[in-house]
Assembly symmetry: C2
Homo-oligomer: 705 residues x 2
């Protein structure tokens, strides 16, 4: 570990890479929870100081034991605590007072159990923090770093083998899953030296651990398993640090389903945030969300090659046509480009092997049996002439055949001559054969589908790392929210000051005023009841469309007042709103809601059935600029409707994006009392004609007493 | 093999399970293509007669060689042909004449190469068929059945090991992929004894092979890799046979993508049918379409337990909370139900282990270390009280721990007491441990995600096997198509005779007639130009909506005639169509197109953007009854719009389904000259008010000369 003093996450170094470790209540039995860490560190030769604390013994597992922390020759960086909850909490606080910098707390019986446990956990963490101590857990499986033989964990997984050293770091909330993942990695001979499991996250969060891994020069790739994100600033800083260091993050986030969220709460006391928001934050930072642990390892392992093409293209080389179709299918489904070989290059290859398929997938055919140098010639043409950033060789069981050593040599010549490409193989080989190819620099996958998914992920990382910094959010004036939920007209005035346009409209106290406004705007107009006490006007028949002439305005005015009185006799009626009726626009919804973890989050979708039935919406953390807003708009499934599908006139996407960006800035400027905003509908008019909110609801929380 | 004489696919028995095998041009070199089959069959002790044919040798690989087929002591069931294309084709026809029942043809250089090769292939197949001979290939990797040591293949995969015997049969168009799949199965110790690879499919198709496997009592599960379906009757009969025999089919069909389709054509000369149609046919028969070869093997292997729950429910048992959330997420995403344990049972479990999670996932906690019988108690309660049809034990590396043998014993007690459930484990164990558990009757998956997908598939098979036969298609009168494409009015009359209702309308030659019709229907009306030469009326402004009164009808009549004349001066104008304008219905599209393989195929979707932008449509082979039609309607994403989403009035889905079923029957009755039908839009009116086609286009092919 280099000196990370002063960096955002260096506070975790005593916890995750300590020079000295004490074990509270250390057991002589190497199979007991409080005996295992010592057994592991002794067996693997931990280079730091290791202090068993046990007042009843002079020696534990061959090490000098101490009666208490106070008797140690030094204040240890970290103490491991496995004693029961009743005694653990006071002991932790006591150690904090003595200057112990960190604690790994296996002890259960806190927030995951009941409210009393949650209160005890809060109290302990708050007290320890006063002295600058950090706590991993409680109710956690701990942490290990095989590279420094640091094993502050009681995981029994080492019974079946020690970790394979490598440059993947794992951060997991769940201990069971963290171990599962690391064991899968080990069995696949994938190097993951370091694994930290955060359990209840009373103090240290998975976000902070990601940040520390991002700053750790021994880690290139970060694999994360999370059930819910507990705090935003640590997580955001961590994601920023990882992106800045060009370290890919592969995430498995569970609790997507209602069922899953329920299970999450019952087992590690996690407050799973809204999954759609987490998804949006991860997308913002180029985190790859894996569907399962195999995909996670495939991608993390492939990423350790550190080839992240900015514009990823795949060239497939094979000696038998079979899997080309399959690979093309998968590439198209994930969106990985497989451009054809240049025509000239195809011609040259066809001159060499008349019945070859030179397009891409490139099939050199069984002719390689007669002339193995064709493997090099064909592959080199792909890299050089085709210019593919990623190469996938589908050789299946050919890689177990007698001619494979010669083919491998040919392949390696190309790889060594063009080291800036990503080289992968889909082969069926015994473990030793795989190790050999991996040592050559190939990434080996058995299944071609999984290979394609992993290759595609490298391009996604590359694009995220290379993306220019997004434009700043638009500047909006300071916002002063009223003390109670504003009327529609007030809401529109507030938003108007931030540059968010509404359809021309006027609040009219009398029928005469309404007629005058309608004449000013031109017919037809929309009329709505105006009352701070009636939020959802259409539910009481408080909205009239297509009001076509003066007489209709008068009749409408009377009708609205009558309906409002009937439906809400106590509502304060301020009159009616008369607005120009917009025609020919595309109906959209723009909204803000406050996420308990990430604060204000913007939503964009098309109106009506698109939101209601298809849930075709996109979210983004506020604030953001118009470039991000336009990306959001273009990302929904119904986007072609705005972009001019099937001969439609394109809508004013620029104006819509500007409105969405301004809304995001407004939401931040409005401060924490802003609960939500609904602009529904917004009409995106034809290009050049702007976008206008037709209805606006702002909900505010009451001021704090 | 039992006697399958007379069954639909028994004709393939001489090819796939022969009693005698001749090898044309047999080589003494066991590594050469024409030497390998003999080497394999000798090594594995093929029990039938094996005849090398080689005029230049008295003996081949220790077997007596014969100068020609004619000199053999008997006419062999099958002959293997690896000689060059020029000599192969005449030799095959010659053998057909001599009574050889089948040929496995490795020889390449036919349809996959060029048009001349395709012609030669057609000629050879046609001639051989006259004598009742069946041909596998050409350009195929052949077939093997390890159970009877029959190896009519030159696959080099056996260099690294022989197949594991078992009850999965593989049918693959691609030889490379078939071998890849079988090798993966072997490496995972999954039993797949039989694999047939059809190559060019000049004669024998993958469909027929499926049928033969369905009739084969040594096969329980069929794994298929296909690039395109070449003929419908064989495939349909095969799917029907497999469903009747309750044999699950897992299919990997490639060529979904445009890229994939192109690659498919270039490599095995496959005419990939429309993928959406294939998908519909597979769904019709309960075939599971796997995303990749691992999923295919997971599911095929799980299916060999032959437990196919009709209403599948999953109970998850674990001793550490971690993966519960993950499993719940996956189950929800695939639609597998995980009901909670009954309250009483939860109470009982909580009395045993106060801090257990008894809901489902059920977490017996680390308490099982102290009392291993808890494993049985908890699991038994799930099976008995919870009534789950499928059990997944997530024990990860616990299964490599010292206490595992005791846990396994507990688990087996439950399994043996309730043998009608599907028992699966997600564990990390060495291969021997896995074999042991598989022998116990557990299906072992390393990854819990993959386990859930496979468990879910068993329920899908169960539901398909248990589904009642669908209702018959409605009876429709005979259809006589006109010799040329009919006008809209003619089309509606034809459809009307089949019970497909249009909005009330009248063909009107004069403005007077149009006015009279409009008055009869009530205003507003729709007016359209009526001409057999103008198919797409709206493109020339030939449709007027909202025609509100008598004067507008007169003006509209003149306007339509004028526009038609301007746009298509030579078109025959028969007048205008006046129709009642329907309001308040949901716009749908019903259509028919003729698939080159499967014949008439019906499409259903919602109108406008749903079809154009979201491609939210469903297909089905014609004909079908109203029950299937209603299933189709309910299956699209936008279905809530018809079913009454968000307080909308539900549409008349019954009438819409009846219309769709009648359209499917009409399409069949119309015969092969029917090219396509478009009913666009159809208005599904509110429940009880029917469904009406507003426009109808029928395209017909000209009568054969």
């Amino acid at each position: 570990m280099p000196d990370t003093t002063g960096s955002r996450f260096s506070g975790l170094t005593p916890l995750l890479a300590p020079r000295s470790v004490a074990v509270l209540g250390a057991s002589s039995d190497p199979t007991r929870i409080s005996g295992r860490p010592i057994a592991y560190m002794k067996s693997q030769d931990f280079k730091g100081a290791l202090y068993p604390i046990n007042p009843n013994r002079a020696e534990v597992q061959g090490l000098k034991a101490y009666p208490s922390i106070a008797e140690l020759p030094e204040v240890p960086d970290v103490a491991i605590v496995a004693v029961p909850a009743e005694v653990a909490a006071p002991a932790v606080v006591e150690m904090a007072k003595k200057g112990v910098k960190a604690v790994v707390m296996f002890t259960a019986g806190f927030a995951e159990m009941d409210e009393a446990g949650e209160a005890a956990q809060h109290k302990m963490v708050a007290e320890a923090r006063q002295y600058g101590m950090r706590i991993l857990g409680p109710n956690c499986l701990g942490v290990f770093d095989a590279r420094r033989a640091y094993y502050a964990t009681f995981s029994s997984s080492f019974d079946s083998g020690w970790p394979v050293l490598g440059r993947i770091g794992i951060a997991s909330q769940s201990g069971a899953y963290g171990t599962h993942l690391y064991t899968l990695a080990r069995n696949r001979r994938i190097g993951a030296s370091l694994c930290v499991m955060t359990g209840n996250e009373g103090d240290v969060t998975v976000g902070e651990c990601i940040g520390w891994l991002a700053e750790n020069p021994e880690v290139d790739v970060i694999a994360v398993y999370a059930e819910g994100i507990r705090e935003a600033p640590g997580m955001i800083a961590a994601l920023e640090a990882a992106r800045a260091a060009k370290k890919p993050i592969v995430l498995q986030k569970v609790g997507r389903s209602e069922l899953g969220s329920k299970a999450a709460k019952s087992h590690t006391a996690s407050i799973a945030g809204d999954d759609a928001v987490t998804e949006a934050v991860m997308r913002e930072f180029g985190v790859f969300r894996a569907r399962n642990s195999e995909e996670m390892l495939d991608i993390a392992h492939t990423a350790t090659r550190k080839i992240y093409p900015v514009r990823n293209t795949l060239g497939v080389i094979t000696v038998s046509g079979g899997a080309g179709v399959l690979i093309s299918d998968v590439a198209e489904s994930v969106g990985l480009a497989m451009p054809e070989m240049p025509v000239e290059a195809q011609k040259k290859l066809r001159e060499l092997v008349p019945f070859c398929a030179p397009r891409n997938p490139v099939d050199a055919t069984a002719q390689v049996s007669n002339d193995v140098t064709l493997v090099k010639t064909f592959t080199e043409s792909m890299v050089k002439d085709g210019g593919y950033s990623s190469v996938l060789g589908f050789f299946s069981m050919s890689a177990s055949s007698r001619r494979w050593p010669a083919m491998r040599e040919q392949l390696n010549m190309v790889k060594d001559a063009y080291p800036d490409r990503l080289y992968t193989l889909s082969v069926i080989v015994p473990p030793e054969g795989r190790d050999q190819l991996e040592a050559d620099g190939w990434v080996v996958h058995e299944d071609p589908t999984r290979a394609v998914v992993a290759i595609d992920a490298m391009g996604r990382f590359g694009a995220a790392f290379a993306a220019p910094p997004p434009a700043p959010a638009p500047a909006v004036p300071a916002v002063t929210l009223p003390s109670a939920t504003p009327t529609e007209a007030e809401a529109k005035t507030l938003l108007g000051a931030a540059g968010i346009a509404s359809a021309p409209e006027a609040a009219c106290a009398t029928a005469e005023e309404a007629v005058a406004a309608a004449k000013r705007f031109g017919f037809p107009v929309v009329m709505k009841i105006l009352s701070p006490d009636i939020l959802h006007k259409s539910e009481i028949g408080g909205v009239l469309l297509d009001v076509a002439d003066e007489a209709a305005v008068r009749g409408g005015h009377a009708l609205l007042l009558q309906r409002a009185k009937a439906a809400a006799p106590k509502a304060r009626i301020e009159g009616v709103l008369v607005a120009k009726q917009l025609k020919g626009g595309v109906e959209c919804i723009l909204g803000i809601h406050r996420d308990p973890v990430f604060g204000p989050v913007a939503m964009f979708g098309l109106g009506g059935i698109f939101v209601e039935v298809l849930k075709d919406v996109v979210f983004r953390r506020c604030p953001f600029g118009a470039d991000v807003a336009e990306e959001m708009i273009r990302s929904i499934k119904g986007a072609p409707l705005l972009l001019g599908a099937r001969g439609r006139k394109p809508a004013d996407v620029k104006a819509l994006a500007e409105m969405l960006a301004r809304l995001s800035a407004f939401a931040v400027a409005a401060g924490p009392r802003l609960a939500s905003i609904d602009l529904n509908p917004v009409f995106a008019m034809p290009a050049g004609e702007g976008a206008f909110a037709v209805d606006a609801v702002i909900e505010v929380d009451p001021p704090q007493a």
